[in-house]
């Protein structure tokens, strides 16, 4: 809605905001003092503040459109005022800062206000002044600034301390102060003091509430308590001319109510005792700066205003921009779901798309939930369940059973199809899907979608929480999962962002000639308008050249060098992520930062720990080692999970100035950065990063708690590229679509006969497995084709396909009918579909190939399978190479035009038998002319990213398919073979340690030293490891190794 003042203000508002953006960008980037037009900024700010006051006097609580206008005016006033330079006395300036901060809170920019106060605190105030009036004013201003800043518990403690001190000295100073004044002034001064005392009391109430959730141990009615003080204060203001105090009091009144609304206590009040306990632990966390007192506006809307916690909705889609705190929202929902099924020991599945995210989420959930005695476990993404995981999943001790299981969608799918819920005897009560927009990913989306559909059908108590960046059809997705009546979406418009951001394109500009052949240069950053309210300045911003990285215009003409020079300048403000497309280019780019200016002469303990670890794992010459001493980390698929996790840790601990990574890091980053420099906007195989991923990484730039301004710079080597990037930045993320659409489109030629589809389009395996699974679940009915049609019509994908392309949908229905005939043929090994994760056709392929290779129950021997002179594995691997679902990932190890499995078997044996990575790299991944780094990277990329996972899955499946004649005991004794391949160890106890995060090289010796850990529960072994002192590690691993691996494990486990 509009307001007469806004109409009067007209274009001045936009002009003032433009000036303020300009000032902010220049201050942040170039440390330049305010030189814009202060009068226009001030005038617009004051008029906006006046509009806010007008709304406050009228009362806006119940009118949504007024509230929105009020918030936008307050936010703009905050944006304007915060750039103005100091003016007036210390007290005047502090009062001004208080007004500005209060406006920030009212404009939903409380986090920005707090950050502003942390970054540029108010001046020292005369808190001990002999003049009582001045002392009281100083105290009030100081404590309210602290309430908004909330720097850990110390600000809160200071508030209480200062109010108490003010009360204590009132008797000493007040009388003299009043009596020294002329009678008429004395009366006004007395009234002013009374107002200030009310403000002191209100501050005290709020300070108690934000930490305790209660005032005086019994009163939870924070709103009423605050209103009582402020109503009186405002009434008193009206009996004298308090030109400054009255408007300030009105602002503080509204600001304090907003802060109370934002309090984590208010948001979670009266849910259940577990939630209360959780809040207590968040508030008390370390009593340091990490304590959480407030929720962010999107969290408040989701939890309190949209009633996520109070609801019985079955499916909720929370669609919020990156960095708006989705994990915390999920945590509250998890606690509620656990509470609902506490007697049954119900459990929650938390699904994350990548290994890195599974690790990160597990660490965070475990840290937060352990104090609440909620067991959080993760299972490996390996597509088989070994005995250790199986014991974890079937734990019966009520105190030891996991309540939250973190894993990938693929693994959960496999576990559920193998009967996890049924066998555990405990209900799955909630499925949290992180990054749920992956549902439309062509490669993995359909699996996720069908998994959710299966859970929806088969797990009676399961509820859903889907977390996505902003999508426009969240409701549709929620309806699909929850049925039409009991579902909802919670979407938050794009206008909220955790901090200010600049998105720009950097190009080099030719300068004066340096000599006859070369030219000088400078970089130009052009800020780009985006749909996300990012800051823009009209002119090009100049970034200086860097002689050490590139001396001339010619030298800066490639993307890597451009990115390096840009990042080198931007890192002066804080840590930067620099991205390029492929691991090899990442190395080249990282190497450019190896300049004297970055050399760190005294390495911190953390950096040298990682260096020592790298030396043990990858050799002293591995280039990352040296890069670390320049503050440069590297992160890509060619590095092991452990190394990548350590890079993330160093980065989060501010030990690295640069983290040079492949663009794929955009999908898995969960930590803040000051800036992002992109040498490329594409993924390794040349496709553009989707908008969701771009905004995911862009959203990390300068997030809550970090520097005020986040910078995302994309480099362009020429104008054409700059134009491409401009378009790229402004692509919109639209409706969430089903992967089925793209898949159906691609495979339209084979759609009407699904029997052979997997041979040409292995991605269809998921779909035909779903058919096979559902057929069995339904008890193999004769009318399956008609029934499944009904089921499919209720799915997201099919429904979308029907509306978007009915012809294809009809073709698919035909295909389903013919596939049903195939399923109904006698003797089909349907059960194996669920236990292997292969399609029926693939199983048949394996059966015939295995029989040709004479692989049967007799072939399986855990003692000899990985021995070098044993040829069985070679045959097995040869069979796997024919499986459509595995083929692509194993390609690199097929070894020549006529694949026989020999090469793959050799790699697997070396890996399982503990051969070092550098040795495996030189044996199998070195091409002519490759240096060690290149072959190591190539090896890592294939081994970690593809071979170990695929080979272990295949081996497990092969065991299921060919081990039919084994007794249960025999079968169980062999169940860990695939995990040996997955983890690269040849011992069951070592597998348990690997699952607990112990690095590969340490797992086997430590397992020997600890005795038979594979028989003990994981929780117990984890506790043992936590308390195991250094001497035990040293005994097992040797002096240096023991110390280093112990430290590294503790870091990976989140204990350091």
């Amino acid at each position: 809605m509009s307001h007469w003042l806004l109409e009067t203000l007209g274009d001045t508002r936009a002009e003032a905001l433009r000036q303020a953006s300009h000032a902010q960008v220049h201050r942040e980037l170039f440390d330049r003092a305010f030189s814009e037009d202060a009068s226009v900024v001030r005038r617009a700010g004051e008029a906006l503040e006046m509009t806010v006051l007008d709304f406050l006097i009228e009362g806006v609580i119940d009118d949504e459109s007024r509230l929105i206008t009020l918030r936008s005016c307050a936010a703009d006033a905050f944006r304007l005022f915060r750039v103005l330079p100091p003016k007036g006395s210390d007290l005047d300036w502090s009062i001004f800062k208080l007004r500005v901060s209060a406006l920030g809170v009212l404009g939903e920019m409380g986090a920005d206000a707090a950050r502003m106060l942390r970054e540029s605190p108010w001046p020292e105030l005369p808190l001990q002044s002999e003049l009582w009036g001045e002392r009281t004013w100083a105290t009030i201003v100081d404590i309210w600034l602290r309430l908004i800043r909330k720097q850990g518990w110390s600000d809160r403690d200071k508030v209480l301390e200062r109010v108490a001190a003010l009360r204590d000295s009132q008797m000493q100073f007040e009388k003299g102060y009043l009596e020294a004044q002329q009678p008429a002034y004395a009366k006004t001064s007395a009234l002013e003091l009374i107002v200030l005392y009310h403000l002191a009391k209100a501050a005290e109430i709020l300070a108690n509430y934000i930490t305790d959730g209660v005032v005086d141990g019994r009163n939870f009615q924070i709103r009423q308590l605050l209103e009582a003080q402020f109503d009186r204060a405002i009434a008193v203001c009206q009996s004298a001319r308090m030109v400054e105090l009255e408007p300030l009091t009105r602002l503080l009144a509204a600001c304090s109510l907003q802060m109370a609304e934002n309090s984590i206590w208010t948001v979670t009040r009266a849910v259940n005792s577990r939630v209360t306990k959780f809040v207590q632990s968040l508030v008390e966390r370390g009593r340091g700066d990490r304590a959480i007192f407030d929720v962010l506006p999107p969290q408040r809307r989701t939890l309190a205003e949209k009633g996520l916690l109070g609801s019985s909705r079955r499916a909720v889609v929370v669609s919020l921009p990156t960095s708006s705190g989705k994990t915390l929202i999920a945590q509250f929902r998890i606690l509620q779901a656990l509470n609902q099924f506490d007697n049954e020991r119900g459990w929650v599945a938390y699904l994350a798309p990548t290994r890195t995210l599974v690790n990160q989420i597990t660490r965070q959930l475990r840290r937060d939930f352990t104090p609440l005695k909620i067991v959080v476990e993760q299972v490996s993404p390996a597509l088989e369940v070994d005995t250790i995981e199986s014991r974890l999943l079937h734990e019966t001790d009520r105190d030891q059973v996991f309540r939250v299981l973190v894993t990938t969608p693929e693994k959960l799918d496999l576990m559920l199809r193998q009967g996890l819920e049924r066998e555990s005897g405990r209900p799955l009560t909630l499925v949290v899907v992180d990054e749920a927009h992956n549902i439309q990913s062509v490669r993995r989306g359909l699996k996720l979608e069908l998994l959710l559909a299966t859970i929806n059908n088969e797990c009676q108590h399961a509820q859903f929480l889907l977390l996505t960046p902003f999508i426009s059809n969240a409701r549709e997705v929620a309806r699909w999962l929850g049925g039409t009546t009991s579902s909802d979406d919670i979407s938050f418009a794009l206008d909220w962002q955790p901090n200010d951001r600049v998105i720009g394109i950097v190009q080099a500009e030719k300068g004066k000639p340096l000599n006859r052949r070369s030219f000088d240069y400078e970089l130009r950053l052009e800020t780009i308008h985006t749909s996300r309210n990012t800051l823009v300045v009209d002119e090009m911003l100049a970034l200086p050249k860097n002689n050490d990285i590139a001396g001339t215009y010619n030298q800066v003409s490639d993307l890597s060098t451009l990115a390096a020079v840009t990042a080198q300048r931007l890192q002066e403000r804080g840590p930067i992520i620099v991205m390029h497309t492929r691991p090899e280019w990442v190395w080249t780019l990282a190497d450019k930062f190896r300049i004297d200016a970055n050399k760190q002469h005294h390495l911190s303990e953390k950096l040298s720990l990682v260096q020592q670890f790298l030396e043990l794992e990858l050799g002293a010459n591995f280039p990352l080692n040296d890069l670390l001493s320049y503050g440069v980390g590297v992160h890509h698929a060619g590095l092991s999970d452990d190394v990548r996790a350590l890079m993330e840790w160093l980065f989060e601990e501010s030990e690295l100035r640069f983290l040079v990574a492949t663009t794929t890091i955009a999908q898995g980053v969960n930590f803040p950065v000051t800036g992002v420099v992109m040498a490329s906007h594409q993924y390794p195989y040349g496709q553009d990063m989707p908008p969701e991923d771009f905004w995911n990484i862009a959203g990390r730039a300068g997030r809550v708690g970090q520097g005020s301004l986040g910078i995302v710079a994309l480099v362009a080597e020429n104008t054409a590229k700059a134009n491409t990037l401009r378009k790229f930045i402004n692509r919109q993320s639209g409706e969430l679509n089903s992967a089925l659409i793209a898949l159906a489109d691609e495979a339209s030629d084979l759609l009407s006969d699904l029997t052979g589809i997997v041979y040409k389009y292995p991605e269809w395996s998921t779909f035909v497995q779903y058919l096979a699974h559902t057929y069995q679940q339904m008890g193999a009915p004769a009318s399956f084709a008609d029934e499944i049609e009904q089921v499919l019509r209720g799915t997201f994908g099919f429904d979308k396909l029907r509306t978007q392309n009915s012809q294809l949908a009809n073709k698919l229905l035909q295909g389903i009918h013919s596939y049903t005939d195939y399923l109904q043929r006698p003797g089909q090994p349907l059960k194996l579909v669920d236990s292997t994760g292969f399609s029926l056709q693939s199983i048949r392929t394996v059966l015939s190939a295995a029989s040709a290779e004479r692989i049967n129950s007799e072939s399986w021997n855990s003692e000899s399978l990985f021995l070098h002179d044993n040829q069985v594995l070679q045959g097995m691997m040869g069979v796997l190479l024919r499986v459509p679902e595995l083929r692509e990932n194993l390609k690199v190890a097929t070894g020549g035009p006529d694949p026989d499995g020999n090469r793959l078997a050799l790699i697997v044996k070396d890996w399982v038998n503990g051969v070092s990575l550098s040795e495996i790299a030189s044996r199998y991944f070195t091409k002519d002319g490759d240096d060690a780094t290149k072959s190591m990277t190539n090896c890592g990329k294939n081994l970690f990213g593809k071979l170990t996972q695929t080979a272990s899955w295949g081996l497990g499946a092969l065991l299921s398919i060919t081990g039919g004649n084994l007794s249960e005991d025999e079968f169980n004794a062999l169940r860990n073979l695939p995990s040996r391949v997955y983890y690269g160890v040849n011992d069951d106890s070592a597998i348990a340690l690997r699952l607990l995060g112990v690095p590969r090289a340490a797992a086997t010796p430590l397992a020997i030293a600890l005795g038979n850990v594979s028989e003990r529960s994981l929780t117990e072994v984890r506790e043992t490891l936590k308390t195991l002192d250094e001497t035990k590690w040293i005994q097992a691993l040797g002096q240096a190794e023991g110390r280093i691996y112990r430290q590294v494990w503790r870091v990976l486990e989140g204990l350091e």
Partner: protein, 265 residues
């Protein structure tokens, strides 16, 4: 401007945006009535006395002590300072003769002494048909015989204060924010909107400034002339400034007595 029976014009000069004028007030029945009704009503507040008890009662909830505050607030405080009467006289006169309205009534709106607080002695609206301007002013009362009197000069003098009202945007905007709540929901709201709109649209220039000097000497244009001319050189349209010297038919010291209808205090 309507005429009234208790005044006579001594001098009047205009120079660009500034005018100055000397007026003798005449001791007569109308003047008595003006003083005891119009001026007096701006000076005393009968409601105030009953309010302070409520104020103190709620103070108890803050945990701060009431004693000293109670003593101050409970004290009888009929205004007896001549300068305060001077301000009330200026307000009443401007309301009477210059169509200025005041959005509040009484002396209790005295501003607090905190030095940094922005302020003007007079804050109101000058109403001219549909046209409403923000009226701000300073009042000086002087019994000095010197011409011009000391209160016109120096940093706390009238000229300097009016200059800062004309140029310090922060002061005016702060006053407006405060004025907003005084005008909300009453008969002044419309005036407030028109005046603020005009003010903002004019690039913060549409204000009517008043400088009122209360004297008990013989009229002399030199009281105002030099300041008026100096201001004329710097004041930009559409800001206007009117300097008024009111020459009393009685001594400044006897003002409090006059305003109370001759009863001794």
């Amino acid at each position: 401007m309507s005429s009234s029976t208790f005044e006579s014009l001594n001098y009047e000069t205009s120079d660009r945006q500034v005018s100055w004028r000397g007026i003798s007030l005449i001791d007569c029945g109308d003047f008595d009535s003006f003083m005891t009704k119009d001026v007096s009503s701006r000076l005393y507040d009968t409601e105030e006395a009953s309010q302070f008890k409520t104020t103190l009662r709620s103070l108890a909830t803050t945990g701060f002590a009431e004693k000293s505050l109670e003593e101050i607030l409970a004290a009888e405080s009929l205004e007896e300072r001549d300068w305060a009467v001077g301000e009330a006289l200026a307000e009443a006169y401007l309301a009477h003769r210059h169509n200025v309205t005041w959005p509040w009534n009484t002396e209790r709106d005295k501003r607090t002494p905190k030095a940094s607080l922005p302020g003007a002695d007079l804050i109101g609206f000058e109403i001219d048909g549909q046209n409403v301007r923000l009226a701000l002013g300073e009042v000086k009362t002087s019994g000095e015989t010197e011409t011009p009197p000391g209160v016109m000069k120096g940093r706390s003098g009238m000229k300097h204060q009016i200059d800062s009202l004309a140029t310090d945007l922060g002061v005016i905007l702060q006053l407006l924010k405060w004025l907003l709540s005084r005008c909300k929901g009453n008969e002044h709201e419309a005036s407030f909107k028109v005046a603020v709109k005009l003010f903002l649209e004019s690039g913060n220039k549409a204000i009517a400034l008043f400088g009122v000097l209360i004297r008990d000497t013989s009229p002399n244009e030199l009281d105002l002339k030099a300041r008026g001319q100096a201001m004329a050189r710097t004041m930009n349209a559409p800001t206007t400034c009117q300097l008024l010297a009111l020459y009393l038919p009685l001594s400044i010291a006897s003002l409090p007595e006059k305003v109370s209808g001759g009863k001794p205090k």
